[in-house]
């Protein structure tokens, strides 16, 4: 496989389900520190791509490399140590647990689990628990939810839950953050807050890949964009390039989608 100086190197990923070709030879190179958007009409294969990268399904062909290291397929728990963390399109939080506990789980691989020390409540166990809690609170502070640390997630609003998922992914200390429709269901205030968070993360050196339908948001914060349609890559490049690309306009207009390239109305 060709070496590249990119953070995330998606090489020739193909996947079909039954007779349906969900992804066809998708190759994307994400530069370090980029905010890379993946957009496309519904059914284009965006979430499938994410699921393959994060190990939830295996591809038919191709591979994914993070900083040169190949990502193992279908072993999701190996991803965080490699530096990949994600959020989900339908929020997947631990609903009966508190906000802090949710974020602490994101921390799992970064602190050891000394069983014997835990059983006797030894100093090693207490030390690592304290370290983990501090990291978790830092993540919560970053998204602005530190005061809700003790709340049960079930009781939070939708927008707040999305932020908790964010904090949880941050606690995993990733190099690459994969966000699956992070703005879905958010009101304009929440979206503005989200934009601040995402750009703040970029400043801190994170690489971000996101799937989104809100064109205004995508054009606003992404440094580069890949457009998928029916499992194929139809355009890639800077926001300006993509916005004017004829294939992209056809893909969106052809389906009667709102918020197509160039429009100022945002997708709800």
């Amino acid at each position: 496989m060709s070496e590249c100086s990119c953070m995330l190197d998606i090489q020739g990923i193909s996947k079909s389900f039954g007779g349906l070709q969900a992804l066809d030879g998708i190759s994307i190179k994400v530069a370090p520190g980029a905010i890379h958007g993946i957009i496309g009409p519904n059914g284009a294969g965006k979430t499938t791509l994410f699921n393959i990268i994060t190990g939830l399904i295996g591809p038919d062909t191709g591979q994914v490399c993070i900083q040169g290291t190949a990502v193992p397929f279908e072993q999701p728990y190996k991803l965080v140590p490699l530096g990949i963390a994600r959020t989900f399109q339908n929020i997947r939080l631990f609903k009966s647990l508190s906000v802090l506990e949710n974020v602490l789980v994101g921390q799992h691989v970064h602190t050891p689990t000394p069983v014997l020390s835990i059983i006797v409540n030894g100093s090693k166990a207490r030390h690592w628990e304290k370290v983990a809690e501090e990291e978790a609170r830092t993540a919560l502070r970053f998204v602005g939810l530190e005061d809700k640390a003790g709340e049960i997630v079930k009781n939070l609003s939708y927008g707040q839950q999305r932020l908790v998922e964010f904090a949880r992914a941050l606690a995993a200390k990733p190099k690459v953050l994969l966000l699956d429709e992070p703005a879905a269901g958010m009101n304009p205030t929440e979206k503005a807050h989200l934009i601040n968070i995402v750009t703040g993360l970029q400043e801190k050196g994170y690489t971000i890949v996101l799937i989104e339908h809100d064109m205004k948001l995508v054009m606003n914060i992404c440094s580069s964009i890949t457009v998928l349609d029916h499992g194929k890559k139809i355009a890639e490049g800077s926001p300006e390039h993509v916005r004017k690309h004829p294939d992209v306009i056809i893909a969106y207009l052809g389906r009667g989608e709102h918020g197509h390239a160039g429009s100022t109305s945002s997708q709800s």
Partner: protein, 329 residues
Amino acid sequence: MGANNETNKRSMVIVAILAAVIPLAVSSNYYLHVINLAGIYTLITLGLNLLSGYTGQVSMGHAGFFAVGTYVSALLAISAGIPFWAAAVVALVVTGACGAIIAIPAMRLSGPYLVLATVGFGEIIRLIILNWTPVTKGAAGLTGIPLPNFLGMQISSERDFYYLIFVVVALGTYIAYRLANSKIGRTLAAIREDELAAETMGVPVNRYKVAAFVISAVYAGMAGALYGVFSGVASPDNFTFDDSVAFLCMSVIGGNRTIAGAIIGTFMLTGLSEILRALQAYRLVIYGGILIFTVIYMPQGLAGIMASGNKWLAKRLAELSLFGKGAGK
């Protein structure tokens, strides 16, 4: 959790004092016997809470682990004269291995499929015990399981057993409590809530599931070893599917997401079972009715009620004032 450390320490001291006093206060050997039995069952429920309550892997086959614990330790003691403690350790190892074995298919399963696999396991163990007559004496069962000997003292009376069982249960409760209120407990709960999300966050879910099965099996195995010396006899009739069901009920009624719930549930149901004995024929009807009532109106079990006390009462009264349909949440 951490904030309650002082209250925890205080309540533990109170419990310790009470526990020491009970055998002196309870005059009847019969009642002490029931308490001892409940204590043994509590070990099973503790393990079950960790597996089914915390990790969400519902098991209706725990009588199987219980049986393995009893038979392995009893057979070692009877046939090879091995002292109780050594026999119990071997029993724990064997039971733990059983836990690992059933965990392998079980970790792929969820919901009713998982339940059925555990039921199958429990039944397979019972049938092996029933049919492997040369070793287990089949339906006739084992008799004459020797009493344990501890530093020269033989443990034979109800009171002796009480202290033995109390020490084991106290230790078991402490370990379970520490596991539950730590990163491990949190991780298990995460697996219960959303296995996929937990795995995506780096949790090696399968490993934890196997560990949970092994731990809960070991707890049941310890209970089994104690049961063998406590009752002196063992037969496959003591380890049926109905027994597995009973253990699960104790776990749920007490509140299967807490450690205190294991103790509360076990003692309540064992006590209830004894109290109702007087009512003869309708005793189990009432028992069943109580199960149904508890599960509908006290979904978090008795431990949950004790935690939220007045709130629960207020909610029930509010519900009653809305005629007809329940108030939902």
